[in-house]
């Protein structure tokens, strides 16, 4: 029986076979009275329908939050929540914030130190002092 190599299958990753949006729900909170919600109210009146049509996979909830600044809250499938305060923002800016949450992974923000990052294991493996040739001191 000839020797057979191990078959490699493409690792399951989001976006390789299918892409599942990480954001599952967006809550839009506004205040009827406060002036800081002016942009939010305008966004909800004029742009929410188009935004909701574009993103049928995201549940959208609109509810008042009296006497508080307007907030967009994103719920992600990893169980985390992210909230963005959109006080005094224009409808266009609020649209950008909603897109930011929509495209977010829901993970905590991390600082990227290296120019290239990979989730693949290193080909060379982890260095060990007990292996490899001994170096003369």
């Amino acid at each position: 029986m000839p020797v057979q190599g191990i078959r490699t299958v493409t690792a399951a990753r989001n976006g390789v076979g299918a892409f599942i949006l990480q954001c599952k729900r967006l809550d839009f909170h506004y205040c009827d009275w406060a002036g800081s919600s002016r942009g939010m109210v305008s966004f909800l009146k004029n742009q929410l329908t188009a935004f909701a049509k574009e993103n049928p996979q995201i549940e959208i909830r609109v509810s008042p939050r009296p006497h508080k600044h307007p907030v967009i809250k994103g719920h992600f499938i990893n169980g985390r929540e992210k909230a963005v305060c959109v006080r005094n923002l224009e409808p266009e800016q609020i649209f950008q914030k909603a897109n930011l949450l929509k495209q977010n992974s829901g993970e905590k923000n991390k600082r990227t130190k290296k120019p290239v990052t990979s989730i693949n294991e290193s080909v060379r493996g982890i260095w060990s002092p007990y292996h490899g040739g001994l170096k003369g001191v």
Binding site: T49, S63, P64
Partner: protein, 391 residues
Amino acid sequence: MRSSLRLLNLEAPASQRSRNLYVCSVCRHEARPRPFVARQFLRHASDSTPITERVRRKLWGTDNPPGLKDPYGGEGVFERKFKRGQSAPQENEPEAATEAAEDAVSEDSSYEPATTWEGLQRVGHLGTWSDLPPTKADAYTSFSLNRRLTKPVHLSLAAHQTAVELSLLHTLKKPLTNICDVIEHEQPVFKLIRNCKIQPKSSGQWDSAVVYPDKETEEALVYIFEQIGGAQEAAAEVATEVAPETAEDAELAEIEAAEAEDAEFEEEVPTTPSPPFFGYRDVKDKGYLDLSLNDPITKFAFLKRFSQLTGHFFPDPVIHQISSVQHVMKHVLAEQNPKPKKLADFLVADASLQSLPNVKIFAKKQKPSHKDEELGRKKLIDAELRERGLV
């Protein structure tokens, strides 16, 4: 040395001083308590004239400058105080003089003390409106009927009536706002107006836009509208021409006038308020909507009359935008159905948003209890709370 300075007696008297012990003048001055004003006097102690007088003289360039003797306010407080203390016994003279003057006043033969307030000059009245007795102009008569019509039926009736009235006045070439003198027509007149139709000839012209149902109506309305506006003036003229010459005639006229006033007074107190437009329903004719209001005089007259009939008033920006009767009706009807003040109401009313399956709109603030309810654990929580006796 000035008299005021002499009064102060700044140095200790010679009798109090010990003759053996020599004390210099400066120390003697220091030993005495003195008012701070004394410094001022000391400074000019050697001068016979005060510094203010010297400055005046210098300014004018003469030894006898014009003006008051001391234009700088006279003596100071302390100066006057010291002077008063010195010259107390001499004050009797001016008092005697004032008493003499008072006596002279009281000896005036024409003076009689008043016993009542009548005939006395009124003090404290500045002739303001509130102090004066009421006049005819003070009586308030309302411009409108003091009612605000809300039903679309009544509003269209009012607009139609206004349109017919104004186009009639246009045809008769009379001032348009004269119609506001007649707050409400009699029922037969209103019926005639209601039967008329409006058919603007071209581009919403008002002239001869009225279409009468028959000749009689036309004649009656033209006759009635001829009287409007000019009626009061004509009546006044007639009254002046036929002025009662004899006293008897005058009395008769007064009695008649009083009777007429009584009759008016009785009419003004109806037992029940009449229904608007005598209970008439909507007008079928919609031709009045096409009438143009581009002419500012016509627009003003229309809005004034319409406001009088309906109780709806128009803000300036709206008046500026209005260009036809249709706009007026649109504005008034929109006032009846104001836009929702709450965003939730607006969004719920939005059909396109409601048709989307992924959108949920809440009218109230969502609390943690709502989340419990949504996840199906609210019942459990309630049951547990009841069991423990906490609810």
